[in-house]
Symmetry: C2
Subunit: 152 residues, 2 copies
């Protein structure tokens, strides 16, 4: 049973945030997107209590976003690898990086996200799934969809 943080909202942003909006979860996804991580490595990177990390990892496993794999026996140690579902969140994380870099990184970007080989910066942008054009907000309209409860 999912927590319904935004119970009144029939909205995919609200539903997504109920899964990935919890404190520390976006940073766990950041750290697992490019490579699997050991519990100890994640704990060291995040500097959070072990029970909080355990709870967040369990939630992400339950939601099919992380896969828990035994990498050492006696004592048993586990690593966590992002599934495709988690990796599909990267455009959202990259968009946050772009925005945070622009407005809240007075010493320059803490982390570069680069086009491998080319070296250009990776940016999250909007495009049309049908005609493939890149879009800006003025090209976009929003209206209620089939899953809407009320006119929005």
């Amino acid at each position: 049973m999912l927590e319904r943080t935004y119970d009144t909202q029939t909205c995919s942003i609200a539903r997504a945030l109920e899964i990935v909006g919890e404190r520390w979860t976006p940073l766990i996804l950041r750290d697992t997107t490019f490579s699997a991580r050991h519990f100890e490595d994640l704990q060291h990177r995040l500097g959070i209590a072990r029970n909080v990390l355990t709870e967040r990892l369990q939630r992400l496993c339950d939601e099919g976003m992380l896969e828990r794999r035994l990498y050492q026996e006696r004592p048993d140690r586990y690593e966590y690898a992002a599934t495709e579902k988690a990796r599909e969140l990267w455009p959202a994380l990259c968009a946050l990086i772009n925005w945070g870099d622009k407005y809240y990184a007075p010493n320059g970007p803490p982390r570069l996200v680069l086009h491998r080989g080319c070296g250009g910066n990776v940016i999250a942008k909007l495009g049309c799934d049908s005609c493939r054009t890149d879009l800006t907000l003025k090209d976009i309209e929003s209206r209620p969809g089939p899953g809407a409860k009320f006119p929005m």
Copy 2:
């Protein structure tokens, strides 16, 4: 003075989330991106306590993301309009919509985000700022930038 929710993290995702990750704030941004909204309209849409909404709106005004405009006198009533800085978060919100629609919208998308005129669905995607190519995760690498505190 900004709250430092993720004090140990030298990371633009962490900084961005300190501003826009608070409960209800992403939904306030969702509702103000395409048009200015009256306080009462926002309160009705979100169904949250007036004091919580007031606090969130004040924070977004302080951060230069919303502009507060008097639209009626006696009694004074205000509307809130997204600034360019807030509108630049739309790729992150659109990415969350795409992901939430795919995984957590069993009755179909609650809200359609469409290419005006064309009618295609708007998707958040990754591209290279230099060569303009569309990218997937396997085309991307991440490494410490000039604002990094430690090797990441």
